[in-house]
């Protein structure tokens, strides 16, 4: 709920102020070049602190008929307003000789024009007011954005945690916001400040005190104050006693007797004066090339945020609008699909599932979790939900828990929950877990399928869940998303083994296209026929071909198809790159943990490595006989025999994960040296291993499993 308020304001404020912000960012971008170009125009005067005012007064007076004012600007240029040859002029003078070294050019009229636009949009006072208000909106946008970021990452402490890979516009919007949040706040606050000052809304500082006393009392201040201390020196109008030198000193305004240099009056600057100067500097970057460049980047960033933010908004909108056309009435539907979706990804998957049910002539109804009501003819409830931030319900699911309590269903419903999320967030699928638990504890609901959690939209994991649904409903659901896969390649079966006692077999495939690139750990999508959803297998790169280890499932269409493939036959498949599961190039040691056919990628990886002593292989398999088919491919494995651990689950009555934990000291040493733990095999093995590992890591090194995952020291590819 709170999330939607922040998101709504983030969006609404953007929409309201977008035109203005584009104008301001573009003109600001141009203006940022003003100080930069000034900076390059001429050399800086250095050594201003070496020259006192008496010296300067003398040198300019000897060069010109009359001098009115001398100003020292942010770039340390000395600008004098003088009379020479009967005409008044603005000139730059040398601080040493007092001679004219150049004419003051009019401030570039282009920059002046843009400044005017940036300040008031050519609308004078109204424009200035609007600019002030929209600067404030920019601040609100930045603040609501940072709240959204914190929500997304599960708290302010995690703002800098890894950004979950998403569509590029969304990913970079989030990633860049962490770097540009503070500069944007600075730019908007200073903008608001300057506007408020313009409209005299700021408190005038009371501590502007006037006093005849100063640090120069009784001395000739003109001899003591240097050019580096002042911004402006006004010469006396005439030689009257009551005409003085007026000095804008860094500490205040001074009135100095023109004959003896004594300070007659000093008006100290209040805090407001310094604050205004600072705000003005922060907003314009005048005098600092670094800050100007930063402001320029910031203008670009604002434009980028607007474009990327708007594209995220459009994508979400189109996702939520793509409602299925042929919705069955909810009073007659047998299958109800409920969706909890924040960004629309889950919704997209749910719609595909819905269409797939429709194609199978099922009476199916789809709606958001918050629209849960009573469904008189329903038998099955399928829930797909993501999780938001710190384990909260996504935007359209917040009321589901209460609805579930109050609404009575006529039939007993069997339910299946699919959670979508990313293991890179601390609360992976926790809302799906909550929903699954709620249904478990509510009367009138039976479990159809146990809860399944999908990491990063893994099509492999989703396929597995779909296959389970297919078995239950005795239908053929396909996912259009999966069939949308890229072009396929042809592979020739070069070698194959028979099925061993575990119904497992190995294929060695050679691509017909010998430029095809792949690595151990990549995935191969295979489809047994056009209409069938593809299955995905982890591969090993082996002798320039692909090695596949497959377990034949009694009802698995694809594994049955591959089990029947003959030698030298061609099969169609496509390689999917899987960069998150790569063998590291630096040799800090790797521990490979696999069960069953999960050994596949490691056969390729450990074949290529040169360093046999720092790597470990833990492999769980049912019986020693199961090994037979693998033996010829294991020969080339570069692994020291002391580093090889094989657990026979049937023989030793023990699973591989327990064996790994017995050798926890190896893992700790590995992590300490920057090594990596790689896990491939069944999801169940991985979950149990993670459970045990979490406990061990907590007690031995007081670090969480998550810590090592986020550091990239634990990689897994399980299904």
């Amino acid at each position: 709920m709170t999330v939607s308020i922040w998101r709504y304001s983030h969006l609404a404020l953007f929409l309201i102020s977008s035109l203005f912000l584009i104008a301001a960012a573009l003109s600001g971008l141009i203006l940022s070049f003003d100080p930069i170009s000034e900076e390059f125009k001429s050399e800086h005067n250095s050594g201003l602190s070496e020259i006192n005012l008496s010296e300067l007064i003398q040198s300019v007076n000897s060069n010109f008929d009359e001098t009115f004012t001398v100003e020292i600007d942010d770039n340390s240029f000395i600008k004098a307003s003088i009379i020479t040859e009967g005409a008044s002029k603005q000139v730059y003078v040398s601080p040493i000789t007092g001679k004219q070294i150049g004419n003051v050019r009019e401030k570039n009229s282009f920059f002046q024009f843009v400044t005017n636009f940036h300040r008031s949009l050519f609308l004078k006072t109204t424009g200035r007011l609007l600019v002030g208000i929209f600067s404030f909106f920019l601040l609100l946008i930045a603040l609501s954005g940072i709240f959204l970021l914190a929500k997304r990452h599960g708290g302010f402490r995690h703002i800098f945690s890894k950004v979950h890979k998403d569509e590029p516009s969304s990913y970079w919007h989030v990633k860049m916001s962490r770097w540009f949040f503070i500069p944007i706040v600075i730019i908007s606050v200073s903008g608001v400040f300057l506007s408020a000052e313009r409209f005299s809304l700021l408190p005038t500082s009371k501590n502007d005190e006037e006093s005849p006393k100063s640090q120069w009392s009784g001395k000739n201040a003109l001899d003591l104050i240097t050019l580096a201390d002042i911004t402006k020196l006004e010469f006396p109008f005439s030689e009257d006693e009551d005409e003085y030198f007026l000095i804008d000193h860094h500490s205040g305004k001074l009135k100095v007797n023109q004959f003896n240099g004594e300070v007659v009056l000093m008006k100290s600057f209040g805090n407001m004066h310094y604050l205004t100067n600072w705000m003005s500097f922060l907003h314009t970057g005048e005098g600092s090339i670094i800050w100007s460049v930063l402001l320029m980047l910031n203008s670009l960033a604002i434009l980028f945020f607007m474009i990327s933010g708007f594209s995220v908004f459009l994508k979400r909108r189109s996702k939520s609008l793509s409602k299925p056309q042929t919705q069955t009435d909810k009073t007659t539907a047998e299958i109800i699909i409920l969706v909890g979706s924040e960004s629309g990804n889950t919704l997209e998957l749910a719609h595909e599932l819905f269409n797939s049910f429709l194609a199978n002539d099922k009476k199916v109804y789809i709606t958001g979790l918050n629209a849960y009501s009573s469904y008189p003819c329903a038998e099955h409830l399928i829930i797909l939900t993501s999780t938001y931030g710190n384990g909260e319900a996504p935007a359209n699911a917040g009321r589901f828990q209460n609805l579930l309590k109050t609404i009575r269903q006529e039939n007993k419903l069997s339910y299946a929950v699919l959670g979508l999320g990313s293991t890179s967030y601390p609360n992976f699928c926790s809302y799906a877990i909550e929903v699954d638990g709620l249904l478990k504890r509510t009367n009138g609901f039976n479990e159809l399928l146990p809860l399944v959690k999908i990491n990063n939209q893994s099509s492999k994991e989703i396929q597995k869940w779909i296959l389970a649904l297919n078995d239950l409903f005795n239908i053929k659901l396909t996912l259009p998303k999966a069939s949308r896969s890229k072009s396929t390649d042809l592979f020739i079966v070069k070698e194959r083994t028979n099925l061993n006692s575990d119904d497992t077999f190995i294929l060695f495939l050679e691509p017909k296209n010998n430029t095809l690139s792949f690595q151990s750990g990549d995935l191969l999508e295979v489809r047994s026929s056009e209409n069938e959803a593809p299955r995905v297998y982890s591969i090993a790169e082996y002798n320039n071909g692909i090695l596949l280890c497959i377990k034949k499932h009694p009802f698995g269409v694809c594994s049955s198809y591959l089990a029947d493939v003959k030698l030298h036959e061609e099969i169609e498949a496509s390689v999917v790159s899987n960069p998150k599961f790569r063998f590291p190039t630096e040799g800090n040691g790797v521990m490979c943990v696999a069960n069953g056919t999960g050994i596949t990628p490691f056969i390729g990886m450990l074949n290529e490595t040169l360093d046999s002593d720092s790597n470990y292989l833990f492999w769980g398999i049912r019986t020693p006989e199961s090994l037979g088919i693998y033996s010829q491919y294991l020969e080339g494995l570069m692994i020291h025999e002391d580093n090889l651990f094989i657990t026979y689950s049937k023989l030793n009555k023990k699973y591989i994960q327990e064996d790994v934990i017995t050798n926890i000291h190896l893992i700790l040493a590995l992590f300490k040296n920057g090594g990596i733990l790689m896990i491939c095999g069944s999801l169940q093995m991985k979950e149990e291993l993670f459970y045990l590992l979490e406990k061990e890591l907590k007690s031995k090194v007081n670090k969480s499993l998550e810590y090592f995952i986020s550091k990239g020291q634990i990689k897994s590819d399980c299904y």
Partner: protein
């Protein structure tokens, strides 16, 4: 023939007189000290008016943003018609409490000739004073400190 000769002579003198009168100017140093008001810098226009108080010449314009010139409505009626280039006699605005010193060039023949010197002031979103300070253009007046009635505290002039 004779008459036309006379006319020519008169014309020639007239042109010469006009020529000289436009070029002989007296330089005056002029200090404008503003009151302590808050807000944007003040626009100050210094003009010469003839004996009927019609604008005759603009001597000095303090304020560079031409977008605001039309807010100084009396002067704008005179200047806005032709809008001659003012760059040579334009300076930046100064804020409340500050002062500016400038060189103004007053046509010598207009001094002590029934003309007026007018200082009019305006500040964005605040008042506009048509005659913040107006004085007869006499040699004596040009050497005295004169107080303004609007944003100007006083004006001081000295022959340069």
């Amino acid at each position: 023939m004779k008459i036309s000769n006379h006319i020519l002579v008169v014309l020639a003198f007239g042109v010469l007189a006009a020529f000289t009168s436009q070029n002989i100017t007296s330089n005056y140093k002029c200090m404008i000290q503003l009151k302590n008001y808050t807000g944007e810098g003040a626009y100050v226009i210094v003009s010469i008016l003839d004996s009927h108080e019609e604008y005759s010449e603009t001597l000095y314009v303090q304020g560079e943003d031409k977008d605001w010139f039309n807010e100084i409505s009396e002067w704008w009626k005179f200047y806005g018609k032709y809008r001659p280039n003012l760059d040579a006699i334009t300076g930046a605005t100064v804020s409340g409490g500050e002062r500016t010193i400038n060189l103004i060039k007053i046509p010598t023949d207009k001094i002590d000739a029934g003309y007026y010197l007018r200082f009019e002031t305006a500040v964005e979103d605040q008042e506009y004073y048509t005659t913040d300070l107006q004085l007869e253009l006499t040699t004596e007046n040009l050497t005295q400190k004169r107080e303004g009635s609007g944003f100007i505290r006083y004006v001081k002039m000295i022959a340069q």
